[in-house]
């Protein structure tokens, strides 16, 4: 069952095609990744999926629904959550308050209930705090709940962003280069966290530049180059596909590698 598919998804800027007829298919459950060299169009694809940028052509279908024309906040309400490459937390708020903001699509008390502090409002707020604490526990930040968000270390800020995205129990979690700027220890911890999230039932789609990180983590990997989807498959298949190798290393080097593999017992 495909959770997210795109059909001929294209984004053109005057004189440049950033994303070119991409047909993505992300099944429900598990961890999936989109990789590609710099300039391949990963960021634009991500922005198209999350509603930051409208497509020039093509469709996006999430859980059977056409979402290409929906604005970002509607997609969030449908169950698509995301993090940002350059971590966009609300720095004036505490850690807990940041996560609470993420609960917005799940809370439904209207203004009346809020102003008159009706029981429904109080119950919702209590549950919201409970869910927020649970999300913090999942990412291991429960002890820092009342710290100011901008006092956290980089790695912890990344985790906080993930907690904030998780708290509304999304169907699909989109992570934008989550390993960026992390040292090996933090990266390993991040990998564990992502596995736990997927084990819990959330589908995870990573856009990532770091090949190693992605290889050990994802079930399926889609490779982008010059805005086109050039390959989709398991990590092993991706590693040995000649088009992928060429995309990352360039044609000459790929040819050399190929020749080398031919003369020795290559993998």
């Amino acid at each position: 069952m495909m959770l997210l598919t795109t059909h001929g998804l294209t984004r053109r800027y005057s004189g440049l095609v950033a994303v070119d007829g991409v047909d993505l298919a992300i099944p429900e459950g598990g961890i999936h990744a989109v990789i590609g060299p710099n300039g391949a169009g990963k960021t634009t694809l991500f922005n198209l999926l999350t509603g930051i940028v409208p497509p020039t052509e093509g469709r996006i279908v999430f859980d059977g629904q056409e979402i290409a024309t929906l604005p970002a906040h509607r997609r969030a309400a449908l169950g698509i959550a995301r993090t940002f490459q350059n971590i966009r937390l609300f720095s004036s708020m505490s850690v807990l308050e940041n996560v609470l903001t993420g609960m917005h699509p799940r809370l439904s008390s209207n203004l009346l209930a809020t102003v008159f502090r009706l029981p429904r409002f109080r119950a919702e707020e209590r549950d919201a705090v409970a869910s927020a604490r649970a999300a913090l526990e999942m990412v291991g930040l429960q002890a820092l709940a009342d710290s100011s968000a901008d006092a956290l270390s980089y790695g912890d800020q990344r985790r906080l962003e993930i907690a904030r995205a998780l708290v509304a129990a999304p169907r699909l979690l989109l992570l934008d280069e989550p390993a960026a700027g992390m040292n090996p220890a933090e990266t390993a911890g991040l990998g564990d966290l992502i596995r736990r999230i997927a084990a819990d039932g959330t589908t995870v789609l990573l856009v990532e530049h770091d090949m190693h990180f992605v290889m050990g983590l994802s079930e399926t990997i889609s490779v982008l180059n010059f805005g086109r989807l050039i390959f989709t498959g398991s990590p092993r298949e991706v590693r040995s596909d000649p088009k992928v190798v060429e995309a990352y290393l360039g044609a000459r080097l790929a040819a050399k590698l190929h020749a080398h593999a031919g003369t020795t017992d290559g993998q």
Partner: protein, 282 residues
């Protein structure tokens, strides 16, 4: 009973000051509501003028009871707010800002050139229906409501979109809807303030609702801060009381408001009193 002349004068002046504190408090809240969601609208003075003129005309020409006039004074401000607010929702915030500055100027020139509303001399003899308690109850209710709303998911959403609208949208927050609601609310508050002011002072003129008052209202909110609803009111009261100590220098007061805005934006982004509301006890 006849009271001595000096006391009479003193009370009369005192009365105006208290009335000004209330009205400016309401205007500061009208500015707060818009800044709190990360928008810049400078239409509060224009909305105030619309409320004042429409309320005054309803009282003077149609002789409506005040209980009806007051809510009806909000209609014109809200309509104009929608006329400007709706098309600029999907545009950058700069459009709303300059359209609202323009609105004030245009309305002022319309009032000046329209004899029905008294032209440049304004309207005289508006029945004095508004009492000080009305102004302050409205202010109190508005403050309370904004505090209660602020300590909820709405308040969190507002703070989020103020800081980073894109991230807020990714969290399912419909930023445009908040923007529009804030603008309409500010129109209502300012319209009510205008109508109450008109029915308290018995005389209104076009100059009260133009460029200078609009910028002064901004200075209330910037000086006080917008971390919590009481802050801009405190800013308003501070700036309303200040000129009492410098009564004879109106130009200097305006210049001071301008300088305050410059200093606040450059150096004091949180204003003097703008402490955040704690939204969630640990």
């Amino acid at each position: 009973m006849t009271i001595p002349g000096w006391l009479d004068d003193f009370l009369w002046t005192y009365q105006t000051l208290i009335h000004d504190l209330g009205i400016n408090g309401l205007l500061a809240l009208a500015m707060y509501v818009v800044l709190a969601v990360g928008q810049l609208s400078l239409g509060q003075a224009a909305f105030m003028g619309l409320g004042a003129y429409s309320g005054a005309l309803l009282s003077m020409k149609l002789h409506w009871p005040f209980a009806l006039v007051l809510p009806a004074s909000c209609v014109a401000p809200v309509l104009f707010a929608l006329a400007i607010g709706v098309p600029t929702l999907r545009l950058s915030g700069v459009y709303l800002a300059i359209a609202t500055i323009g609105l004030g100027e245009v309305l002022r020139s319309v009032y000046i050139n329209w004899d029905y509303v008294g032209g440049a001399l304004g309207l005289n003899g508006i029945p004095e229906r508004a009492e000080t308690w009305m102004i302050f109850s409205l202010l109190g209710v508005a403050l309370l409501a904004l505090f209660l709303v602020g300590r909820s998911r709405f308040g969190r959403a507002m703070e989020a979109m103020r800081e980073d609208a894109t991230a807020a949208a990714a969290m399912g927050i419909n930023v445009q809807r908040y923007h529009l609601m804030a603008l309409v609310t500010s129109a209502i508050l300012a319209g009510l303030a205008g109508s109450l002011g008109a029915h308290e002072a018995d005389f209104i003129s076009p100059g009260e609702y133009g460029f200078e008052p609009a910028v002064t209202i901004l200075s209330f909110a910037l000086l006080g801060g917008i971390g919590n609803p009481a802050a801009p009111v405190a800013g308003a009261w501070f700036l309303t009381l200040l000129p009492e100590m410098m009564r004879d220098l109106p130009e200097i007061r305006l210049a001071l408001n301008g300088v305050i805005i410059v200093l606040a934006v450059l150096f004091l982004p949180r204003g003097l009193f703008g402490w955040r509301m704690k939204r969630r006890a640990a």
